[in-house]
Point group: C2
Chain length 301, copies 2
């Protein structure tokens, strides 16, 4: 069943200890779509400016990503982000950001996407997230991401969104900010009181924490020395997780969620092994499954 | 088979968000011994001053800890540490430290301890660690801990020690300092080149990483909201790990080490649930085994 994602599409300039890349393809919806399409067909909704390089549209060639929901807006410029990991490979410093078209109205969800059952609302303004959600006919599993900015400036709208979704994905700093709890288990418990049935707290190189009414599940990151560029790791993680959940009919039992988190973890390990989408582009589903089984074996005791 | 530990015994003053305790029992050898004695008889070697409160000697009553290796040195004062976790529950700030008797000569290992097969050299000067090791007749499994201070000031002696031990336990910051590698897998690989067959890198609330020639094994911390006082978590972890390894005849296969790390993780979860040794003192082996099985189930996918 099709998985709908709405989120950012951008051009990234990246600095890491391994080198520098200028104006390469990036954005939450791009990483998510590529990662999820290892598992299930993806419907991508986003907006770019008319300056978006044409050759980048070939990114999804041969993959089950329906990019017809990408609006190329005349007179607008594409979102740009310049991030540096020179200080800390686990956390980007934003050197420069130009929201450009992302600061304008949201893209429209195409009519033929409105029956999507599985939905990932990548990070954007919570009012836009609610609008996009409201236009869908009968979503079965809705998961959202958010960020510090909205927690700080749009808390009432974010709280409204939280009552309408099944799962929230956010990082540890955001979870602490949202709940004012330092301990992540306590933070996760608070998030559940706000609406979602489950929450996934991403901890970068330290893995992730799942919390639901069935309790906590913690998973370390895939152990690897090959970290070239962490950009998109969280979105790839979410893509792998939601892609797998979509293949399971959106079931969110503890066992299914755990397997989904492990898939997210494994897919993210390909993302960080190279700049931009280069690492993901070299992966295939068989490799992902092999690594998933290796991870499962390594994690069992 | 008996497990020998040499390390510090002290009086701690502790400040955490949950409160403050003055001059309570602490020290690496104390936490280690209590934790390991859930699994195996422990021989404890350490030194205190004549000011050490008599009632604290009853700590190990009814437990298989042979405390006859504790020297009460006349004219000397007990080691004292004052730590605060008010800023960061994952890392203590040392408010004050008085090495006192720890700055003097090492305690002597009793004659009847010299046949110990399993040895944990808790953190102290690497020359003392080597001296104590040299006096043992035929140790079968030797694991050591160390700290920033010795990495910075006694690197040649520490490097000598590393060629004489089977396993090294240290925290993430220490591993990075020792190897000048930021990535922990790379750091672990460098440690193996220095001598040990395996290394365990402790990451506090983020769990631990085991690395050996069989590759990496990562384990998150036991997920809990009940963190009152993290003091002794690392030493309790080492105690649980070494205690279990001792019951397995010191086998260090990947499977055995993984189970041992999980025991260390579970034992540490009792330590942090209260001040000083209070949490550990309320635990028993059945509870530990139950929690170990819960952890194993929670971790499998």
């Amino acid at each position: 069943m099709s998985l709908l994602v709405t989120g950012s599409i951008g051009l990234d300039t990246l600095e890491t200890p391994a080198g520098r890349r200028e104006q390469v393809v990036g954005g939450s919806a791009i990483y998510f779509s590529y990662a999820a399409s290892f598992f299930t067909p993806v419907r991508l909704v986003g907006v770019v400016g008319e300056d978006y390089p044409k050759h980048l549209f070939s990114l999804f060639e041969g993959r089950e990503v329906d990019a017809s929901g990408i609006e190329i807006r005349k007179g607008s410029k594409t979102f740009r982000w310049h991030g540096s990991y020179l200080e800390n490979l686990n956390e980007a410093v934003t050197v420069e950001v130009d929201l450009n078209v992302l600061a304008e109205r949201a893209p429209k969800i195409p009519e033929n996407f409105l029956d999507s059952k599985f939905v990932f609302l990548a990070n954007t303004h919570p009012v836009l997230q609610q609008q996009m959600l409201a236009s869908l006919r009968s979503p079965k599993l809705i998961v959202a991401d958010t960020m510090n900015l909205w927690i700080q400036t749009e808390r009432p709208e974010l709280c409204k969104l939280l009552t309408k979704i099944h799962g929230l994905v956010l990082n540890d700093g955001e979870a602490r900010l949202l709940t004012e709890e330092k301990n992540l288990i306590s933070a996760a418990q608070q998030v559940l009181k706000m609406g979602p049935r489950f929450v996934v707290i991403k901890k970068g190189e330290h893995g992730c924490l799942l919390y639901s009414d069935r309790g906590a599940f913690v998973l370390p990151a895939f152990p690897t020395a090959a970290v070239i560029d962490p950009t998109g790791a969280g979105d790839s993680f979410a893509g792998g997780m939601m892609g797998y959940l979509s293949t399971q009919g959106g079931i969110t039992s503890a066992a299914t969620l755990k397997r989904a988190l492990a898939y997210g973890t494994v897919v993210a390990s390909y993302t960080i092994a190279d700049f931009s989408l280069d690492g993901l582009q070299r992966a295939d589903r068989d490799q992902i499954d092999d690594r998933w089984h290796d991870f499962k074996t390594a994690m069992s005791f």
